[in-house]
Symmetry: C2
Subunit: 80 residues, 2 copies
């Protein structure tokens, strides 16, 4: 079962990667960019056929390893 975990910096946390991308886009002539936030995606292939179990396990993985919950939020989505 494939599960996708999106990890983004929480609102208010400075995002230097996103700022760098915004600056680079400006240099390339893309002038109408108000803001950029960069995060990560982790696609997990779990050895289970139970969607609820897969979601619960991925959530535990996010809490324990994938996200730093002090500064990052995450979203878990079962892709099937």
């Amino acid at each position: 079962m494939k599960v996708r975990v999106d990890v983004m910096l929480k609102a208010g946390v400075l995002d230097p990667q996103g700022e760098a991308v915004r600056h680079a886009l400006g240099s390339l002539g893309f002038g109408n960019v108000n803001g950029v936030r960069q995060g990560k995606v982790i696609e997990l292939d779990l050895d289970t056929e139970d969607a609820a179990a897969a979601e619960a396990e991925a959530t535990e993985m996010a809490e324990k390893l994938l996200a730093n919950t002090v500064i990052e939020s995450y979203a878990v989505k079962v892709l099937g």
Copy 2:
């Protein structure tokens, strides 16, 4: 208008970050992980109200800067 660009390594391209995550999950006791792929998400806040224009612009940004199309694929989604 908010647009989201997902960038993932193409299938077949070695993903050391994903492998590192898989290894770390194994060490934490998550034994049923068949595979992990890690990618990035870029959330753009564009100064336009036209969804089609926003999508076209984000696609151009992905081609020119956000993705390395030799080894990465991308997906653009207008969030509204």
